[in-house]
Amino acid sequence: MPLDFDAVRAKVERTNAIPTIPIVIKKILRAVENPATSPAAVSKLVSSDPALTAKMLKVINAAMYGFVARISSVNQAVVLLGMNVVRALLLGISMFEMMEQAATGLWKHSLGCAIIAKLLAQKKGIQDAEEFSVAGLLHDIGKVVLSVQYPKDYQGAVATARERGIFLSEAETEVFTMNHAMAGAYFAKTWRLPKFIVESIRCHHQPYLTGSFPLHAATVHMADVLVKAYDVGFSGDPFVPPVHSSVWELFDFNEEQMKELFSEIGDMIFQVDDFFKKPKR
């Protein structure tokens, strides 16, 4: 018996009631929604939590700058990426933190997707491709939200996909009457994340659905397929989904170009594993 759509939606949108969302995150999100809040004030708020600051800078440098420590302070991140993107990152990081170890596979998948999305955007001649990394990083946030709100049901959906050999989206829809893309979009909308993020989340399996951000949705769609093909992390999906025909028009790679692409991916992707290894000593 599938869960009621409206009930699932309400629960996905009520994540601000989750007691485990750190208070500092709630404060930051509230502060950023107020247009009068200065970037300096946001930096100060984030910096008041050193663990969160360190984690955020680590994720930004890994996902956006190929693991080179280019951004070294919250202030710099806010200036470079804008408050709304920093806010989205903080929310994403704290959601993943809530799942702790259970989310490591999905974190790896997401980080891999972020790196590949940026690579693809650069191939399209986009210089400041940070937006694409952020979209890649957060595209599966719906899986995290569903797991946090319905831990048992979500594990059931992942098991069903594996046992019956179907795509995870199909198994999710059977249980929740919506898939993670839709759940993630409701979540992102409720938290008023930037529109390009909401659309990338909502349309990463059906990139033709977006009216406003076709390039973002298509890039994340392609990156998601490639990271699944290279088998980085664990997305919960047993299979590589096919790339939609509209996206092939945009990324018109032939076999030789795809081989070159995999070689570029291979050069970077092992660092995703290193990222999650506990530092020695």
């Binding site: 050999g165 397929v225 590589v240 081989k259």
Partner: protein
């Protein structure tokens, strides 16, 4: 490309990425070979890790990697462009081991 610690860098290893300072200025270009004097200079600049040309073999065996690819492409192999993607990946795997 490999990220290695400055201590473990082999003599003659080639920088895959330039060394840049905080202002984004290139101090040492990519393509430069690293020997002892340069190593000392980098250390004096506080650099502990660099990117060098090279390739790392994945943690899993080649047979396991190929088996995983075969399994995960089960549902999309019929699509000619996805078949091309799979072939490209298999050719890449052939190259890295």
């Amino acid at each position: 490309m490999l990220k290695v610690s400055l201590e473990s860098i082999a003599p003659g290893a080639v920088l895959a990425k330039p060394i840049i300072n905080d202002a984004g200025l290139v101090l040492i270009a990519a393509g430069v070979e690293v020997y002892e004097p340069l190593k000392r200079k980098l250390a004096s600049m506080g650099i502990t890790e660099v990117f060098v040309v090279g390739r790392r073999v994945p943690d899993i065996s080649k047979a396991e990697f190929v088996a995983r690819v075969d399994r995960s492409f089960l549902k999309s192999g019929e699509d000619p462009r996805m078949a091309a993607m799979k072939n490209a990946l298999l050719a890449h795997i052939e190259e890295i081991y």
